[in-house]
């Protein structure tokens, strides 16, 4: 714990400002469009070690850069005017910054009263100077939500999201269609996104997608799928040369539920190609947060390992690797405090350290995320009270 010293102190101060009560129905909310009032912050480490954040606050999306590991940030560069953003718990702005310094940012707006989403994308070769006007990622009018980005080793941006175009088409043809679809698009270095394609039909409609890379043009994607009979368990596929491969089931949790779980999975690929997956389920086979590993590219996974204390609502697990080292963090709530716990494996996920509390808060918070810069792994966590925190996990677990 004593090593957890890298805290965004500049923001702690800002975070202490008490939100004025405007007498509306949002007593705990802040009105500013600043990181202090952001509800979600997505971090990205550029190759030069600079930390970039894309965050959303009160209908706006902005980007900030830090060259001192989150102690101080440049002023916010907004990428949109005030819009109605998709407020889903698993919907967050996305950012990648390639080696040339070109930033790609995506976010989702709620385009009608029934929360159909529209993914918007914008670019900048000089992000601190500003972004071009955001464009629709696709001209298709069906709902798109939960966009996730990954930057592959050759500088291509991979985007995956949940898309309802095939549902709309099926309905028009008078056919039934369960759930939504996993869609993807690629943007080559310095280029716009190529037209999207559907990777797999019948996914769950309301959960984030996990992305890791097995190599350039080889994203490994994990999502909550909709299996026969309305079972919402997890699936994984590995892309090859930019195209999706076979789809495998991560675990047979048997979560049969006609509902929106609002909880998506996370995946990481180790140095020797081991897949590390973590997810939440309320299945009849098992309930809670789980971890499993695959030694054969996702075809088969180990027996799920239960994570966290099930009496304290474990949620939002996130996994990251560096060679054979694996880190896993998640959030628990005891009735008063939300606590981020973490644990580490040094042997490719075979054995794990005892979980430790890394950070806590007594108000609203974003999901805990993990991010790596070179050999260093950090916890990235935005909380309403404390603001943005970036904590080095070296020696903490």
């Amino acid at each position: 714990m004593k090593h957890l010293s890298i805290i965004a102190s500049a923001l702690l101060f800002a975070g202490m400002a008490v939100a004025a009560d405007h007498g509306d129905h949002k007593p705990a909310n802040c009105a500013e469009t600043s990181l202090t009032c952001a509800d979600k912050a997505t971090p990205f480490f550029a190759a030069d070690g600079a930390l970039w954040l894309a965050w959303s606050a009160n209908g706006r999306v902005a980007v900030q850069k830090s060259t001192d590991l989150g102690r101080t940030f440049t002023s916010a560069v907004f990428v949109n005017e005030t819009e109605k953003l998709d407020g889903g718990a698993d919907g967050r702005p996305q950012i990648t910054v390639d080696r040339s310094g070109r930033a790609t940012v995506a976010y989702t707006i709620a385009k009608d009263s029934h929360y159909s989403g529209q993914v918007m994308v914008t670019w900048s070769d000089n992000p601190l100077k500003g972004f071009g006007g955001a464009q629709k990622l696709t001209a298709d009018t069906a709902s798109q939500r939960f966009v996730s980005f990954g930057l592959d080793g050759d500088g291509r941006v991979f985007a995956a999201w949940i898309d309802k175009r095939n549902l709309v088409a099926a309905e028009k043809a008078g056919q039934k269609y369960a759930g939504a679809a996993l869609a993807f698009a690629w943007a080559g270095p310095g280029q716009d996104f190529a037209p999207p394609r559907i990777a797999k039909d019948n996914t769950c409609e309301c959960c984030r997608i996990g992305i890791a890379f097995a190599g350039p043009k080889k994203p490994v994607v994990i999502w909550r799928h909709l299996y026969d009979g309305g079972v919402r368990d997890h699936a994984v596929t590995t892309f090859n040369d930019g195209l999706p491969g076979p789809v495998y089931r991560v675990a047979v949790d048997k979560w049969k539920i006609d509902a929106c779980p609002h909880q998506g999975p996370s995946i990481a690929v180790g140095g020797n190609g081991t897949y590390h997956a973590t997810w939440f389920t309320g299945g009849s086979a098992r309930e809670g947060v789980f971890y499993a590993r695959s030694l054969d590219g996702g075809r088969t996974f180990s027996a799920p390992l239960q994570i966290g204390d099930n009496s304290r609502q474990p949620s939002r697990p996130y996994v990251l690797t560096n060679g054979s080292a694996v880190w896993l963090v998640w959030k628990e709530f005891d009735g008063d405090q939300s606590v981020v716990y973490g644990m580490q494996s040094r042997d490719d996920g075979v054995t794990w350290s005892t979980p430790k509390a890394l950070a806590n808060t007594t108000d609203a918070s974003d999901h805990p995320l993990l991010i790596r810069s070179g050999e260093k792994v950090f916890l990235s966590w935005l909380t309403h009270k404390e603001g943005y925190r970036l904590m080095a996990l070296e020696g903490a677990l």
Partner: protein, 162 residues
Amino acid sequence: MKLRGFIGVLFLAALSACDSQTIETRPFVRGSWHQLLAAHADKPTIVHFWGLTCAPCLTELPHWAEMQRDRPGMNVVMIASDPASEDTEELTATLAEAKLNNVESWAFADAFHEKLRFEIDPTWRGEMPRTMLIGRDGKARVMSGVADLQEIRNWYDAQTKS
């Protein structure tokens, strides 16, 4: 004068018709759950958690309206528990559109959702829809996902018989 009186009666009739259809969506904050339980003590109450971002929730709303029509005395509380703080006017309009005119409506209005959910049910992780059947004895039965409305009807009938 007669005409004016007639118009006046029409106006009043229109007003009262409007009145019975007006839903007010109240902010659900820390402590609201206990307040709600106290207000409904001793009455069989059906609490339904839903949201505008939840597709299955929106699909089933009209069926809830049907159920209410065949059980006019049924106490139904709708709580919008989407992770996003939602526009209360939009919530109210969506309920009205589904013809759910006679319900008590609340919407989560505190970003600390873990806390709100914990007060309601520590085992709830936020999945929606979700329904709680709270009996006269205060005991709650939870139905996760789209509820079987026939089961709710049966439960309600048994509750009102005894």
